[in-house]
């Protein structure tokens, strides 16, 4: 077992442990803070996978924008949830069984795939992954149309969010 594998196992345990805290902890502010730990662990995984641009975007967009937005939303609505009994609904044990079955089904399906345990080729040292990603995003032969559609979707969603949350009184 190499040092990289031990590092991966530690990061994986942090991700899964903090994700469990996100779905089970009573205080929603704490859940949002545990979500930040999970997102940071995923950013570390992106760095392990040589996706440096995505690791930075994960920190900037997910932790810097989405997690802060969650904390704002919890603070704007949390008055009602204080001391209102259990945070999980009555059928949580059934949901736990469904989740375990989903994991088991995914695991069974993946381990029957013959590329399951393959290892990566060494990352080519002269390969400019960030530059190639930028070219792929704006090249007409590659992904310029999905990229533009995503930006229009983001604009429409933000205009819609302002309209929905606007107080007319």
């Amino acid at each position: 077992m190499t040092a990289m594998q031990i590092f991966f196992l530690i990061v994986g345990l942090v991700i899964l442990g903090s994700a469990l805290m996100v779905v089970t902890t009573r205080n929603l502010i704490h859940a949002a803070l545990w979500l930040i730990v999970t997102l940071f662990g995923v950013a570390v995984l992106f760095a392990i996978l040589d996706a440096s641009f995505l690791a930075v975007v994960q920190v900037v967009v997910y932790i810097g924008a989405i997690a802060i937005l969650f904390i704002f939303a919890v603070m704007l609505t949390h008055k009602e949830m204080r001391d209102r009994g259990p945070q999980l609904n009555n059928s949580w044990w059934l949901n736990a069984i469904i989740s375990l079955l989903t994991f088991g089904g995914l695991f069974w399906m993946l381990q029957s795939w013959n590329g399951f345990s393959k290892t990566a080729a060494d990352f080519p040292s002269s390969f400019d992954a960030v530059g190639q990603l930028g070219k792929a995003l704006i090249s007409p032969d590659a992904f310029v149309l999905p990229f533009e559609v995503a930006s229009v979707l983001l604009l429409a969603a933000l205009v819609g969010a302002v309209y929905i949350a606007f107080n007319r009184k």
């Binding site: 990289m4 594998q5 899964l16 994700a19 469990l20 996100v22 779905v23 859940a31 979500l35 999970t38 997102l39 995923v42 995984l45 996978l49 996706a51 995505l54 975007v57 967009v61 969650f70 939303a73 919890v74 704007l76 609505t77 009602e80 949830m81 209102r84 945070q87 999980l88 609904n89 949580w92 736990a96 989740s99 989903t102 994991f103 995914l106 695991f107 993946l110 381990q111 399951f116 345990s117 393959k118 290892t119 990566a120 990352f123 080519p124 992954a129 990603l133 792929a136 995003l137 590659a142 999905p146 990229f147 995503a150 983001l154 969603a157 933000l158 302002v162 929905i164 949350a165 107080n167």
Partner: protein
């Protein structure tokens, strides 16, 4: 080097935890937290398939970026809806938001 299976198992476990959160939480904001966990599991899968396949094909990373954009817009609209419902009906519990229940 880390085998591909470790990443796939980790993301399957993260997806299942997020699914449990979506199904079991009462608070609508906490349901959105579970959805974020599931989207992150998908992103781990996309990036690890990019790395373990042909790295000169950028489709995996491009799709992960599009998932980022979709997640950001989903959170913006979802939280706006939650705040709007909270303002009108004074609740964020998903079971009590039954205005459209037939």
């Amino acid at each position: 080097m880390i085998p591909l299976s470790w990443f796939l198992i980790l993301s399957a476990a993260l997806f299942s935890i997020g699914l449990f959160g979506v199904l079991s939480r009462k608070n609508a904001v906490a349901i959105l937290l579970g959805i974020e966990l599931m989207l992150n599991a998908v992103n781990i899968n996309l990036v690890s398939f990019w790395r373990y396949g042909d790295v000169s094909q950028m489709a995996g990373q491009v799709f992960a970026i599009i998932v980022f954009a979709v997640a950001a817009s989903e959170v913006a609209v979802g939280l706006a809806l939650v705040i709007s419902v909270y303002r009108r009906r004074n609740t964020v519990i998903a079971d009590e938001i039954d205005l459209m229940k037939w």
